[in-house]
């Protein structure tokens, strides 16, 4: 094997967002020699963009709240396709994880009693999002980053894991490259925790950053691990639509949680026309009741603007299609006419700033124009709820890259809490696995040589394909054919198109040298983007029903009998993608009983 930089660890965490940092902190605390390997600088991961808050039933604002209510909200929001055990652990442990952040220095907004303040969000029965204005993700990542640094955990920044290395059927290491120099670096490790986030950059209009290329999903898939439910992609109802260069940038759900409403071009609060039967009992049916709810949650039902995200995104899509959209093809999100300028600037400072700077819009005076944007993937690596272990020995996953927790649709605020709860569990699971392993697994040197020369092939390839152009074509394909509303013929077309793009990706030519070369980095990321895009499209074609983040025009209803009971389970067989339907884990009777009681 060529002489390359190499390091030995017990646990290598891939990704330095909320889940990765929390996993590394826990693995380190458990005594494992731990490294964090991340694609960007420390503190820049996508978690930094999270705005609204961390969902945790602490009961600081509504004492009626508890983990059972949170569990129930999460399962109903996910249309009951969630892994019940993950949803249970998540609801039970989230409050402790939030308090732990506070003990590590996070400064949340306060209630009058001096406790952590909690705000309303879609799909949550009670105000339960711990928050800092509308920059909660920044507070969370900075707190975890500062904690990890103070513990002296090794961090490899701007270092991209290219492939996992196996010893037989267990994980043995990771081959990565430094983005600065383009040189390879080898991690020999007993366990790997994937915490790489999502796949949003496969779509044209997205709130996600360049890093979201499905790296962890693909590393797992290539290593033989199962992925589940890749068809469930969340389109956040409110992204910016104008000017074109900011299309897709997120507008936090807190705008609605804090009183903002959606109106069409006729001025109508159209969400009252889109209340689905399953949420009718707990949703207000008049503007008067909806408006009273902000002050009195007990005697009034929730405004329909705060239905789960899948419902709101579909409703906006329908209104625009019916010709009742704004001049730029969106819908109005109005908080200006409902709250004082002072309140808006205090509660939503970064939204105020974002619209002012990027769109010349003063959100305290005029409504925002918004529309759906690709935001989150519910599908991901199949994991054991308690340990975050994947189906490959020594491989763990937490956060957005893991599947199951959110079922077919994630509630806002449940992502940051997911990162903390399962980041910690993955760190613990990986450290325990590493400690229990007799001998260290061995890396196959020949395999490392082969992977390195493969990764460099694009420099000497004269195929002439431009990686940027290929990514753009892929994004258009996924946006147009595998977007919010799907139909068989288009999905078949998408699978064919992705297949052709995979062929063309083999002919990518990279200009320049290996030193900080974004063209080369993208050429390598394209492999993951194409892998996850194919998985999403194939799962979407199979699931002949509509549920959560998967809407089929040709099968507009949920199919409880057939599809309500299974996860699409994706795995690699040679060069082929194999998908089978595996029955959902069975919820115990005492939890199932929670769904028979009326909403409390």
């Amino acid at each position: 094997m060529a002489d390359i930089e190499s390091h030995d660890y017990d646990v290598v965490v891939v990704g330095a967002g909320g889940a990765g940092l929390r996993a590394a902190i826990e693995a380190h605390a458990s005594g494992a020699r731990t490294a964090i390997v991340c694609k960007s600088l420390l503190g820049k991961a996508h978690t930094v963009m999270a705005e609204g808050g961390i969902a945790a039933a602490m009961g600081n604002v509504w004492s009626e709240d508890n983990w059972k209510v949170h569990f129930r909200d999460t399962m109903r929001g996910g249309k009951m396709l969630n892994n019940w055990r993950m949803a249970q652990l998540h609801a039970q442990e989230a409050p402790d994880r939030v308090l732990e952040l506070e003990a590590w220095g996070a400064l949340f907004d306060r209630t009058k009693e001096g406790l952590i303040s909690q705000r309303d969000f879609g799909g949550h029965r009670y105000a339960r999002l711990a928050h800092v204005g509308d920059r909660t993700g920044l507070e969370m990542i900075r707190t975890l980053q500062q904690r990890a640094v103070s513990l002296g955990i090794d961090v490899y920044m701007e270092c991209k894991v290219h492939r996992l290395l196996m010893d037989g059927d267990r994980v043995a290491g990771a081959l990565a490259y430094w983005r600065e120099s383009g040189r390879f670096i080898l991690f020999r490790t007993r366990a790997v925790v994937l915490a790489t986030g999502g796949i949003g950059k496969a779509f044209q209009v997205t709130s996600n950053s360049w890093e979201y290329t499905g790296d962890g999903h693909s590393l797992a898939f290539w290593s033989g691990a199962d992925l589940i439910d890749m068809e469930f992609v969340q389109f956040h109802p409110t992204g910016m639509v104008w000017p074109p260069s900011v299309r897709g940038i997120l507008v936090t759900e807190s705008v609605r949680g804090d009183g903002g409403v959606l109106r069409n071009s006729e001025g109508r609060r159209f969400m009252f026309d889109y209340i689905p039967q399953v949420f009718a009992a707990e949703t207000a049916d008049s503007e008067a009741e909806a408006d009273r709810w902000y002050e009195d949650h007990i005697n009034n039902r929730r405004p329909p603007e705060l239905l789960p995200r899948d419902e709101v995104a579909r409703a906006i899509n329908s209104e625009v299609k019916a010709g009742r959209g704004t001049p730029h093809g969106g819908i109005y999100l109005d908080i200006a006419s409902r709250r004082s300028a002072d309140f808006i600037r205090r509660r939503l400072p970064s939204m105020y700033h974002q619209f002012k700077e990027l769109a010349d819009v003063d959100i305290t005076a005029t409504p925002m124009e918004i529309g759906p944007t690709c935001h989150y993937v519910m599908g991901g690596v199949k994991v054991d709820a308690d340990t975050a272990a994947s189906t490959v020995t020594g491989l763990f996953a937490a956060g957005e890259v893991a599947g199951g927790m959110h079922g077919s649709n994630r509630l806002g605020g449940n992502s940051l809490s997911d990162l903390l709860v399962f980041g910690r569990r993955a760190g613990l699971g990986a450290a325990e696995y590493a400690a229990g392993l007799g001998s260290a697994p061995a890396v196959d040197d020949l395999e490392v040589d082969r992977l390195m020369s493969e990764a460099l092939a694009a420099f000497s390839n004269d195929g002439g394909e431009n990686p940027y152009a290929l990514q753009q074509e892929l994004q258009e394909t996924m946006h147009n054919l595998v977007g919010i509303i799907r139909v068989r013929a288009e999905l078949e077309q998408a699978i064919e198109a992705v297949g052709k793009l995979k062929e063309r990706a083999r002919r990518v030519t990279v200009e320049g040298n290996r030193q900080y070369n974004p063209g080369w980095h993208l050429a390598l990321d394209l492999e993951s983007l194409l892998t996850v895009s194919e998985a999403v499209a194939r799962c979407a074609l199979l699931r002949e029903e509509s549920r959560g983040g998967h809407t089929r025009e040709d099968f507009p209803q949920p199919d409880a009998e057939r599809w309500g009971k299974v996860n699409n389970t994706v795995r690699r067989r040679g060069d082929e993608v194999q998908i089978e339907q595996v029955p959902l884990p069975q919820m115990p009777a005492e939890l199932a009983a929670l769904f028979e009681e009326p909403a409390k």
Partner: protein, 249 residues
């Protein structure tokens, strides 16, 4: 609406470089980063540039645009006079890696030297209680997105490489102020601020506050109060007496 603009982008690495001209389309509402991305996608695939969120939240895409330190994602093309070329250069205080990408490891080294947050015990029920007005002071500083533009313009280290050994820069002096004003923290970081982090080198020209994309009042709310606290401690008669007694022991 779409126009052709001339972008003069610095290309090179640690061994040197120069501005290269690119004539490129700029569409309505675009920011400098959009145009840089278009150059990258169509004319210079290997153009090095850091970015992540493209929404002013991560602080990755700092550069000097027409000589002014800015986030490229929050700098709209429409603010520049039509028909004139726009220069984009890497931030100057840190060594160039490649093109617009600089080696900001100085900042991550400084972060390691900050003593960790050390809270007192919680209340009997395991909770901490703080009033909103008491957390707001430190919350302002925690808005920092670590774009390092304040570090870039601080003349103590800009063009004075030799000062980096004993001056941490506004970002990390503000971090000490943030911990100092945190209602729960128990450590005294004033000696560190004065000695190792070089707080007294700051002569409050407010350049850092002017470039802060988060509009944090770095000088007025963090550095000046911190200077006052450090000086109080240094010259306070009771503290001096205490130090004298400790020395005798």
């Amino acid at each position: 609406m779409s126009d052709q603009v001339t972008m003069k982008v610095w290309r090179g690495d640690a061994s040197g470089g120069d501005f290269a001209d690119y004539v490129v389309e700029a569409r309505e509402g675009e920011v400098v980063l959009d145009v840089i991305h278009r150059i990258q996608a169509t004319q210079a695939n290997d153009l090095g540039v850091r970015w992540n969120c493209k929404a002013g939240k991560c602080g990755s895409c700092s550069a000097e645009v027409n000589g002014h330190p800015r986030l490229m994602c929050m700098t709209r093309m429409s603010i520049f006079p039509a028909g004139q070329p726009i220069t984009v250069a890497p931030i100057r205080t840190f060594p160039v890696m490649k093109d617009l990408v600089t080696d900001v490891s100085f900042n991550f080294e400084m972060a390691k030297r900050v003593p960790a947050f050390s809270p007192g015990p919680p209340d009997a029920d395991g909770r901490y209680r703080m009033q909103q007005r008491d957390v707001e002071r430190s919350q302002e500083f925690r808005k920092c997105i670590e774009c390092f533009l304040c570090q870039d313009v601080c003349h103590v280290i800009r063009d004075h490489e030799e000062n980096k050994a004993h001056f941490a820069g506004p970002r990390f002096l503000m971090r000490l102020a943030e911990l100092d004003m945190h209602p729960l923290d128990t450590l005294d970081r004033r000696p560190l601020a004065r000695q190792d982090f070089g707080l007294l080198y700051c002569n409050i020209t407010k350049c850092c506050s002017e470039v802060c994309p988060e509009h944090i009042h770095i000088t007025d709310n963090a550095l000046i109060p911190m200077k006052e606290r450090v000086v109080d401690r240094q010259f306070d008669p009771i503290t001096r007496l205490g130090r004298a007694i400790r020395r005798k022991r």
